[in-house]
């Protein structure tokens, strides 16, 4: 188990390093950052000044080293557009995005798990068909459009919920639905597949044969095993949700990290963009790492492979 954990940790560290190089390098694609920062009508003196001010005249590797050194301590520099330390802004905005991520994941699990279980208990029944139809439709629904449709019906036609803002829990309802439904089909399908597989296993037949109540067989014996792969999927999906928060937060003007990233991109605020990419990626890396460790602990076969 320790060997597995260390190997997996090595992978996580390597991935984090690679992501840091990419998120640092990405912003140099635009060519000369100093010119981009100088505005619409820059003159040479101005560009030179900006180049010195941001240290853009140093070799790339030095700039990267400097940036990484700061980033390791949580210091991502000063925001070009918001004029505050990136660290402070992320600390302010991240709780909003995390809340949204958690409520959305809860939404997806509350909907996806029972539907998946029900579909697996009665394969090809009407409930299975409804679950399948739901997942096929859900996967085709563009989330940004779904968000607007919700606004039309729940904010404009019937003013039940606020269309934008971050002030109360009501502001989180529609974003949660939009972000959560996106992850639901995958969770539902994996639960269904896992349950179908487990329900055919010998130990379930044994449990039934020895006269256990069907509910006990289902929840204590079957679901527990079927849900193991769903844990990994949920970790992956949570990472995707952070990425998807850019779209959803922007539409609902929810002041989280995603919305901030969109504003930063629109205004050439590269330190902020780099930081958000790095933070989102780190969350994904940590979550998948924890999920893998949890899985290895739950299922010894994984440790050896």
């Amino acid at each position: 188990m320790l060997a597995f954990g260390l190997r997996r940790l090595g992978v996580a560290l390597f991935v984090a390093f690679a992501v840091s190089v990419i998120s640092f390098g990405l912003l140099y694609m635009s060519g000369d950052l100093a010119i981009a920062l100088a505005g619409d009508t820059p003159d040479y003196a101005q560009v030179d000044l900006i180049r010195k001010q941001y240290g853009l005249d140093r070799p790339l590797i030095v700039q990267y080293g400097d940036w990484l050194h700061g980033a390791l301590g949580g210091d991502f520099g000063q925001s070009v557009y918001f004029k505050t330390p990136v660290k402070t802004m992320i600390a302010e905005r991240l709780p909003v995005t995390m809340t949204l991520g958690l409520t959305s994941m809860l939404f997806a699990l509350v909907l996806g798990l029972p539907l998946g279980v029900l579909a697996a208990i009665r394969p090809n029944s009407w409930i299975d068909r409804i679950a399948l139809t739901f997942s096929v439709l859900g996967q085709a629904l563009p989330s940004f459009w779904f968000a607007l449709v919700l606004i039309v019906f729940l904010s404009l036609t019937w003013p039940l919920l606020p269309p934008s803002g971050t002030d109360s829990w009501e502001n989180f309802v529609m974003p949660t639905i939009v972000l959560g439904y996106n992850a639901t089909p995958a969770i539902m399908r994996l639960t269904r597949t896992g349950m179908l597989e487990v329900l055919g296993a010998d130990y379930i037949r044994t449990a039934r044969a020895k006269g256990l109540r069907p509910a006990k067989v289902l929840f204590k014996h079957a679901l527990r095993n079927a849900v193991i792969p769903v844990v990994s999927l949920a970790a992956v999906q949570f990472g995707f949700m952070l990425g998807g928060s850019v779209v959803v937060e922007t539409i609902f003007a929810l002041h989280g990290t995603g919305f901030m990233a969109w504003e930063a991109i629109k205004n050439n605020d590269f330190p902020t963009v780099q930081a958000v990419i790095m933070v989102f990626a780190l969350f994904y890396i940590v979550l998948t790492f924890l999920a893998d460790i949890l899985n290895a602990w739950l299922d010894p076969r994984i440790r050896i492979a």
Binding site: V19, S30, Q139, P142
Partner: protein, 294 residues
């Protein structure tokens, strides 16, 4: 699907064909997709108006099913008086162009990585797995937005950005498929006969992993189209005045209260296209490899 009792006497193509014509999802999805492809291909001939010509006096005409609608503009006109049906039909070209081109580009990258990992195994597999893991940890939407924000949103840039980001599923599926094939007798035979690695990969392995490849390509095309629409909607994708469906929805957003059909129509078109492609992809998988259904 009913069980085929005479498995021994049915050839694979005949079996696949029989499954195809019985698969409702595949037929409906393929039909709708085919129709949209035809509309996109012949859009300049089919559309009554130039999608870029503005007609301010006739701006924001509602579609025919509303009271003030006129048959001259069946889907109404947008905020600049441009015929909405014409823009919708031309917009299909953008979606399909980006979808197909990005899926080809990412298919090339992902297949090369996946087949190499599956066929060679060992160190190559390790490196590819690491690259895929790195790619999966990157927030796709954010990276795409940042790149488009930095270098602009021409069609070529959109195709390149999306194509370079969405190859992960190809790599994973192709790796698995190649692993299944690489130790089969005909590959061993080719190796024993002294065929070069390139020859074995190209003429023995690739043709036999083609089915899952086509399925992934279909689903990833839908993924690419959705991503383009989302980026264009956020203003960091295809730029005006091009009639990208995502952009049309963004432009209609300001009229959401009274002219909600402005976002309803392109959104419904996008939904229908993605649904059709997904049904087609799921159907193709059911037909060629029903055991992979999950």
């Amino acid at each position: 699907m009913s069980a085929v009792s005479t498995i021994e006497t049915v050839t694979a193509p005949a079996r696949d064909w029989r499954r195809t014509i019985r698969h409702v999802g595949l037929l409906v999805g393929g039909g709708v997709f085919g129709a949209i492809v035809l509309i996109a291909a012949f859009a300049p001939l089919l559309t009554p108006y130039d999608p870029y010509i503005q007609d301010i006096p006739n701006r924001l005409l509602p579609p025919v099913w509303q009271e003030a609608g006129v048959w001259a503009h069946p889907l109404g006109t947008d905020q600049l008086g441009r015929d909405y049906l014409s823009r919708l039909m031309h917009g299909a070209r953008i979606s399909l162009l980006i979808g197909v081109a990005a899926a080809l580009l990412s298919g090339l990258i992902g297949t090369a990585l996946g087949v190499a990992a599956g066929y060679f195994g060992g160190r190559v597999d390790m490196v590819v797995t690491a690259i895929v893991t790195v790619r999966l940890s990157l927030p796709v939407v954010l990276i795409a937005l940042a790149v488009v924000g930095a270098i602009g949103g021409s069609l070529q840039v959109m195709i390149a950005v999306i194509g370079l980001l969405l190859w992960d599923r190809y790599a994973v599926v192709m790796r698995g498929a190649t692993l299944q094939v690489r130790n089969l007798d005909y590959v061993t035979a080719a190796r024993a006969a002294g065929c070069s690695t390139a020859r074995i990969v190209l003429s023995e392995v690739l043709p036999n992993v083609l089915n899952p490849l086509i399925v992934v390509a279909t689903l990833e095309m839908a993924h690419a189209i959705l991503l383009e629409a989302a980026l264009s909607f956020l203003g960091l994708g295809v730029q005006p005045p091009l009639p990208s469906w995502g952009l049309m929805i963004a432009e209609g957003k300001n009229y959401i209260l009274f002219e909600s059909w402005l976002i309803g129509i392109p959104g419904a078109a996008l939904f229908a296209l993605i649904l059709a492609i997904n049904l087609m992809g799921d159907g193709l998988r059911d037909v060629t490899a029903p055991e992979d259904r999950g």
